[in-house]
Amino acid sequence: MSTKKILAITLLAAGLTVARASAAKDNLWIHIHVQDGKDGKVSINLPLSMLEKSSAFIPGEARSSGRIRFDDEDITVAELREVWKELQRQPDATYITVDEVDSKVRVAKVGSYLHVRARDMKHGRNENVEMKIPVSVVSALLSGTGDELDVAAAVREIARQGEGELVTVTGDNETVRIWVDSSSESR
């Protein structure tokens, strides 16, 4: 086979792979599933492309959430951005460990993911939060300026990352799951 033919076939295969990846990205759905007790359930299934387009129109007021409450202390988005910049340069490790009688928090960077695990047992509750967020999504979310979160950039990055579990919260009587996959139905 001539070099030209091999090159043409390689280019065609590469083109098909890119087209397939792009089509797969277009077919992604974000699912939010809330189970409240035995009888309550809320399922929201939206094409990620739809969320991607709409998120560009999220008003500035909502994007600039200002502060994030962490372990009874307020951290501004600007402060979080600085911490994140520093964290990205560091190797994989558990960076935050809170080990109290009624609450436990663990934040770790593992490969290209940020793992957040929290357990809250205050006031007789038993709530577990588990998040596995791609590092690039956090970076995109914090790519805004000042106290603004760039939600649109984060949604774009989630779409680029493809299928995966994002957030799981389990409480005594309720569970919340947010995930991305190529199926239009909750599973």
């Binding site: 299934n45 008003p59 239009s184």
Partner: protein, 150 residues
Amino acid sequence: MSKGAKILVVIAVLVTVMFVGTGLLIAGSIVHSGVVTVKINETRPNGTTLYLPVPAALVYLGMDLLPLVDDGGLDELRADLGEWRPFVAATLEDLEDCPDAVLVDVRDGDETVRIVKQGLDIEIRIHGADGNFEISLPARLFSRVARAMA
């Protein structure tokens, strides 16, 4: 054929053309714009049972005429949505291109609320102990609402 009979034939042809034309126009508008259907079925004794199909073209016409008779309701809606108006408008506009799926499914005991995209329509189905309520709207209608809001 007498002159009177000829006039009668012409009138009959005109009336037929008018009826057929109107029928074709309605059929055309239904095919082009879709139909808004409302189904109500209350389970209590003497409850309401209703099936009401309305050509969406009539709804569009109503929306087009709304600014002429509106006494500020649309402006009020715009004001209520505030900065979220472009976000809501973009979301509504995208519903038309959204693939078929159950977009929202809420269950609370015996009651369920579902928002489903099916073909060219958006269906809102509410089922409960008191009965069932279903409304089907062409997805294009949401784009029109989005444009009216913008």
